[in-house]
Symmetry: C2
Subunit: 184 residues, 2 copies
């Protein structure tokens, strides 16, 4: 895949501000295409996976509390990549940990950056079909509740604001397109 | 709109780590539903708008360098909310600044959180039709190039990785659904 560098901003200096448990923050000083200098605040993230788990005409979602939003949200199963972990393996791990289901029929939908203006977080989004029962096993500090919803219920959740994060809205659109066109 | 608080995490302490030009970072100590304590790394962001600008059978996109990714990306026009700015007004401002087009036919597609695990950033996504020529006027440190692309070209850009951010992939899906169903 060609990496495009149009209007490249060249790093003059990198200042590390914070290294946390999950994210870190740095401020880069850059040279702009016109020769001027600017600063860029950059959050580094290990990357994540998310899964659209389809069972019959329903999708499995999980409700959990999202501290940055100060409310609970209904989302597709997702989680961070462990160090060196292959995304597909992480997706299958998170699917089973959070929902108790396994699948041998998993396809990549897309890999996307959530906030390219200030963060390098990438999410690898998969679709999983032909689910079979495994063992749910959420992380220790993870409290969540699973539910299987129809497309119409998902769209209602979007109108109600119970589904309102990028990856889950993208999942609902992809699911609707899959139903309409037969294509991922 | 009801705010759901299932599995609420109650703040015990907030430590401010950094206040920047665009984002700030804080670490909250919280009490979990089981009584245990955990920390949450939280990026605060002013919020943003993005626009799907349709002209005939094409969508207008902008290419710009994304420092966190160290590459340029093709995205729909977007930008941060100014302090106190109403999202629809911001969307019309960014549309004209970045593409040179105005519109009186603008509808909200959805408002979504980009990274609810570590950031409060919200993007208000609009669709704009019946575009008329105004005046392009990018910000001083903003270097970008506009292009009008068909749905098929957008899908090819996604396969090539030139389009790979959440809001633009969501825009392409929403546009495809709009063409298929006539509904936003």
């Amino acid at each position: 895949m060609t990496v495009h560098k149009k209007f490249e901003e060249v790093t003059v200096k990198t200042e590390s501000i914070y290294k946390g448990r999950i994210i870190s923050l740095q401020v880069d000083t850059v040279t702009l295409p016109n020769g001027e200098t600017a600063t860029r605040e950059i959050v580094k993230h290990p990357g994540a996976v998310a899964v659209i788990p389809l069972i019959g005409d329903k999708m499995i979602v999980v409700e959990q509390y999202r501290k940055p939003l100060e409310k609970s949200q209904v989302e597709i199963p997702a989680g961070k990549l462990d160090a060196g972990e292959e995304p597909l393996k992480a997706a299958l791990r998170e699917l089973e940990e959070e929902t108790g289901y396994r699948s041998d029929n998993v396809k990549l939908v897309s890999s996307f950056y959530t906030s390219p203006g200030f963060a390098d977080e990438i999410i690898h989004l998969y679709i999983a079909e032909d689910l079979v029962k495994g063992n749910a096993n959420p992380d220790e500090d993870e409290f969540l509740e699973c539910e299987a919803i129809t497309l119409e219920e998902a769209q209602q959740y979007m109108r109600d604001g119970r589904i309102s994060d990028a990856k889950t809205i993208m999942a609902v659109y992809a699911w609707q397109l899959y139903k309409l066109t037969g294509q991922i």
